[in-house]
């Protein structure tokens, strides 16, 4: 329990640091929502008075940074992230509408990749130099090709040229689709169809890491005496493999938590390439439009999610490893 409490303490600290960093980092940025708005208002000859008024509104306030900071923190605690300057409406609304998509896409892809990759790693490691080892170079390729290139390749091959899957949007919004958001078959079908390619990209890019990591851990663990003991006991093969896998999975679990922020980075890219409408595209648009409240909101939500996943992984680790539990 104690370890967990300590970890929790760290997470609170990290969250606070993120909140603060978030505030000050963004104050450092040049440009503002103003120029974005002025650009949008082409076609009208704005009077200097209007420009001034808009500057007051969007050009960054003039009150002291400190008091801004406290207002910001105070608002955060009330769940108020401010108003998006590029999309209108509270940032919270943007997040509530877009975050579920991202979580659904990235979450499912990551979990599928983790589970499938780990299982594959276990099998490949167990078989050592079996024919499955041929998977390794392929896996290496996917692991090392940048997300962007991978996403583009996927979009071109399976989407644009192959035509197997749609490669833009979250579901079919075309005029003949007549889909209603909600838990109904056609809608979910469409969501799955549209999610396939981006999810595949996220999954493929990360699965290789799990396969290789798990294989290496498996081979390392199989060298442990207790695995040999399991074999010496005349246990069935799968039981011996299970003993090794059960121990090898522990480091994989901490790696899982570590890699989450990489996955997040990758999924932002994936969303952008596949025109997927989630917080990844949001943050890109927010950066381009100088929409700082939205940027802050997305950044915070992502950091909090990563921290939460890390904490969950910590808990899982403690539950799975009796040695960690002892310290706890």
């Amino acid at each position: 329990m104690r370890t967990l409490l300590r970890r929790l303490g760290f997470y609170v600290l990290a969250a606070y640091a993120a909140i603060t960093l978030n505030f000050f980092l963004i104050r450092l940025l040049p440009g503002s929502a103003l120029s974005n708005i002025l650009t949008q208002l082409r076609g009208s000859s704005l009077s200097p008075a209007t420009v001034k008024a808009l500057e007051e509104e969007y050009g960054g306030g003039h009150s002291s940074t400190f008091s801004q900071y406290f207002t910001y923190v105070g608002h955060l605690f009330k769940g108020d992230f401010g108003t998006s300057t590029s999309k209108g409406g509270p940032v919270v609304d943007v997040l509530t509408s877009d975050l579920p998509w991202t979580i659904g896409l990235v979450g499912s892809a990551t979990i599928i990749a983790f589970v499938a990759g780990t299982l594959a790693g276990i099998v490949i490691g167990w078989k050592r130099n079996g024919f499955l080892d041929a998977l390794l170079p392929i896996a290496t390729f996917f692991q090392s090709v940048p997300y962007l290139v991978l996403a583009i390749l996927m979009m071109l091959t399976f989407g644009y040229y192959g035509g197997f899957f749609p490669y833009g949007g979250n579901y079919d919004t075309s005029r003949n689709a007549h889909l209603t958001e909600g838990w109904n078959g056609p809608f979910i079908g469409s969501v799955l169809q549209h999610g396939t390619l981006p999810a595949l990209t996220v999954a493929l890019a990360s699965i290789a890491g799990w396969i290789i990591g798990m294989r290496n851990m498996m081979i390392t663990t199989m060298d442990e005496d207790y695995v040999l003991v399991a074999a010496a006991k005349g246990l069935p093969q799968w039981r011996v493999a299970a003993v090794a896998a059960r121990n090898a999975i522990l480091p994989a679990l901490s790696n899982f938590a570590l890699s989450i922020s990489l996955v997040v980075t990758g999924s932002i890219v994936t969303e952008i390439v596949f025109s997927y409408q989630g917080v990844g595209t949001d943050i890109n648009n927010a950066v381009l439009a100088g929409d700082y409240p939205l940027m802050q909101g997305v950044l915070l939500v992502i950091v909090f999610t990563v921290l939460a996943i890390n904490f969950l992984a910590d808990i899982a680790y403690v539950l799975l490893d009796p040695r960690a539990r002892k310290e706890a």
Binding site: F141, N216, T265, L299
Partner: protein
């Protein structure tokens, strides 16, 4: 250097060498400079032909020349990112691991926070305020990328340092009166080299990917076309939609190959760090399968013992007490 024998590592090294060469001499041997154009009027990219091996882009730049010119920045930036990140991770990781205590707590918390922050977003935010001179400077970009890429290495190095800290040779160095920094630098760091190499390569791969993305998102200011920039322009100018593959496939393939090459080399380093992985390779292709608990029996041993085998030892009742 047993790792060198692995065909994977060898392929990786050869590829890397080729690309490193390309980065160095590419700009020198490129038929044209990056801003050279075939003409100033046409806007339909030329397909690959005898003169322009990889065709031209919309502005009639020679793609082959751009690809040759584009490697240097990409590799340089990734390399610098790897270098800076590795140095940072050594400083933080080894210091935290070796000194322990409050320093460790603070540095570890710092690394963990950087781990939790999604690098790309931080970079988007950091790159924005940089003046154009800086976002065009490979050293600055590399350093900034490194800022988001050091934490993994630091964590691994810290864990490893914790293990090395207890080694007797560290204790022995203390006993002869070595100073702390010297112990860290001369006793611990050399033993971390394989891990450093691995984390360096990892960061370089990360650097290539993130630099490509940053260019793609238009956050990098550069006048020399990097591979990422070529891809980004091809996509924004609709090359994908009309199938002008020669414009974006070559740089994409270059990036993919460099990444793969690095990962292959990392394979070898992994085996140096963890020799057990090497033993997993032994016997491949020799008709021997190693399975846990089923040691293979290959009756190849020459009979060193002649037919007159000495009587196996069997104590007799009389001799036993």
């Amino acid at each position: 250097m047993r790792a060198l024998r692995s065909p994977k590592v060898l392929t990786g090294l050869v590829l890397l060498f080729v690309f490193a060469l390309l980065a160095f001499v590419g700009p020198l041997v490129a038929p044209h400079s990056s801003d050279w154009t075939v003409d100033r009027i046409h806007h339909v990219p030329l397909a690959p032909n005898g003169t322009y091996w990889l065709g031209t882009d919309q502005q009639q730049h020679d793609v082959f020349s751009m690809v040759l010119n584009g490697g240097r920045d990409t590799l340089l930036i990734a390399f610098i990112a790897g270098l800076v990140a590795t140095v940072l991770s050594v400083v933080v990781g080894v210091t935290a691991g070796y000194l322990g205590g409050l320093v460790d707590d603070l540095l570890t918390a710092l690394a963990n926070i950087f781990l939790a922050l999604p690098g790309l977003i931080i970079l988007m935010v950091i790159m924005k305020p940089l003046p154009p001179e800086d976002t065009a400077n490979p050293f600055v970009i590399g350093a900034v990328i490194a800022l988001t890429g050091w934490a993994w290495g630091a964590r691994v190095l810290r864990t490893q340092t914790l293990a090395l800290r207890g080694q007797d040779y560290v204790e022995s160095a203390k006993v002869i009166g070595e100073r702390k920094w010297r112990i860290m630098l001369f006793e611990i760091v050399p033993n971390l080299l394989p891990i450093l190499a691995s984390s360096f390569i990892f960061t370089v791969i990360y650097g290539i990917g993130i630099f490509t993305v940053l260019t793609y998102l238009g956050l990098v200011h550069t006048t020399v076309p990097s591979w990422g920039l070529i891809i980004s322009q091809a996509i924004s100018q609709g090359a994908v939609m009309v199938g002008q593959w020669w414009w974006f496939v070559p740089p994409a393939v270059c990036i993919a190959l460099v990444g793969t090459a690095l990962a292959l080399v990392n394979f070898g380093i992994d085996e140096v760090i963890n020799p057990r992985l090497t033993s997993a390779r032994v016997g491949r292709g020799k008709g021997v399968t190693f399975r846990l608990g089923m040691t293979p029996v290959l009756r190849t041993a020459p009979r060193a013992v002649p037919a007159t085998t000495p009587t196996p030892y069997a104590p007799t009742e009389e001799v036993a007490k």
